[in-house]
Symmetry: C2
Subunit: 328 residues, 2 copies
């Protein structure tokens, strides 16, 4: 992570609009998306320009899975949940005969298991609830420190997109507040968002469980309950963004059908706006998937709406010099 932090520092210290000498987006080719980003930032930060946006209103929202980090071959948080089932199995002898746990425990890690939506919810509940918020933070922290991506062998926090890290830092250097707005768990993302993305916990918006305040043995704690509170996906994204930020974003970045409403809501504000979608079309450096994929579905409907609304596609293959920080 040392490399990443160095990038952030550079971004914050040197990449401001008053010192434009260094390229703030070195991992981007000089193609349309990079030009659009640079043009948009110039427009909103130039006092007196018709597109000028006061710093307080420079809100940018980012989806996480597939937009900032890799979501293949499965969502990272799902991998976490499946790993937790194995860790927790000794405390749950009943899982030996109870589905979906029985089939999960019987399957080697490399193989996939088909689960229904209801079974998935059961797995999530069994692995994400019942502990305090501080305990959950530690469990995720420990897992992220050792769990590795099945294809690359890298830590999941190394499977982040270098061009997007540069974009996050560049926007912040120009007075933007950068928020995550993701279907992922809010408390799951908070564990790494600050260190990896430079996004502090209070700028993380995500799906959540109900929680409960308690005094346990004289100590105040917040306990995670096995009940969904909010799913931050599709039409839930604008709702959660308004609830959390109370301002409409001026820039939004996503990669799948789940981000459509977030981009619509951003665009409907009028004035200078930037809406972009990361397109996974790079089978050699990452993955190529879209309309047919169950993970990060990018349907033809979304593609049509993007064209109609002028949302720019970021081609991983054509627009990015590097994908991951470890790429040469």
């Amino acid at each position: 992570m040392r490399t990443l932090r160095f990038v952030f520092l550079c971004g914050l210290v040197f990449a401001g609009p008053t010192a434009p000498a260094a390229d703030p987006l070195p991992s981007w080719h000089d193609t349309a998306p990079k030009k659009a980003i640079l043009g948009f930032v110039a427009q909103v930060t130039r006092d007196g320009s018709p597109g000028f946006v006061p710093p307080a209103e420079r809100i940018a929202v980012f989806d996480n899975d597939g937009t900032l980090w890799c979501e293949q071959p499965m969502y990272v948080q799902l991998r976490f949940a499946l790993d937790r089932v194995k860790v927790l199995a000794p405390q749950h002898p009943e899982w030996k005969t109870k589905q979906p746990f029985k089939k999960l425990l019987a399957t080697p890690k490399e193989q996939t298991v088909a689960v229904t939506e209801h079974e998935l919810l059961e797995i999530v509940m069994a692995t994400h609830a019942g502990m305090t918020t501080e305990e959950f933070d530690q469990i995720v922290r420990d897992w992220l420190a050792t769990a590795r991506h099945p294809k690359t062998g890298q830590l999941y926090t190394e499977m982040v997109y270098q061009p997007m890290l540069e974009l996050l830092a560049y926007l912040r250097a120009n007075g933007f507040k950068t928020f995550l707005a993701s279907g992922g768990g809010i408390e799951f993302m908070r564990v790494f968002a600050e260190k990896v993305y430079g996004v502090p916990p209070e700028h993380v918006i995500g799906s959540s469980f109900k929680t409960k305040y308690e005094v346990r043995d004289g100590k105040a704690v917040i306990v995670r309950l096995p009940e969904l509170h909010f799913i931050d996906d599709k039409a839930g994204k604008p709702v959660a963004i308004q609830q959390h930020i109370g301002r409409r974003p001026v820039a939004a970045f996503g990669n799948s059908d789940g981000d459509r409403e977030m981009l619509e809501w951003t665009q409907a504000g009028g004035g200078a706006r930037l809406m972009m979608l990361v397109h996974h079309d790079d089978d050699s450096r990452e993955w190529a998937y879209g309309a047919e994929s169950k993970v990060g579905t990018f349907s033809n409907l979304l593609l049509a709406e993007a064209k109609r609304n002028g949302w720019l596609l970021i081609s991983m293959k054509a627009d990015w010099k590097r994908v991951f920080p470890s790429d040469p």
Copy 2:
């Protein structure tokens, strides 16, 4: 509001720890609360001090009603709701015969009407839901621009506590992020929190309604539904603070039983902590009320817990030179 904004600017520009000449809290007497605030800030900002807190973790949370602005003779937002009933009555002929609207409409503004908790909820639903978030913002904005306090004739946004404005600005000048954490409506407070308190919308936490994303006549909107989403009071406060901020505050300010859990949660974090309660004991300049009051109840139980936990009481009478910005 010109005076207030000037205070903020001063706070931000001049009152930093490197320019300690000017008194950052001129409306406070040199009594225990002021000394505690100055001591706490010195401790958390002095690098190398055992109580040092990195800027990113300097989170301070403030209740609003009775802590930052006047809550007597009734909560401002309740006054707003009652005024809205009168404005909306022509569109609701059925209210002439339907309680609680019938009795509200038959009662002059100066007189109080007894309503049950259920009736109160009906009033709130009828006046706070059914419109888009932008429409609601405008309705509140218009009301705040003209509605006046029944005792002083001032705008409600002028009925804020000058010493607390100074405290907010002083904390921010020392790297704190100041959040509202109030039972009041999140979208109601956002309308004035930035201008009056210097607290941006994304730092406002409050009670909320469910909302729904919609595309109406081709335009993306968020509609307020007549259904409560979250009551940000008592044990709900730590829950909402964790959900919204994801970090435990190091300082918390309240004034009533509804703030108890917020102060407990703040204190339980360990390290340097500051918990304070505004005590309304000044019948000549504001109001004197406590255990017997239905608005802003300060029970003997809370008093006992405050003593046990070392939470400092701010006596409006003894500790504040001025109460309101308009005071001499």
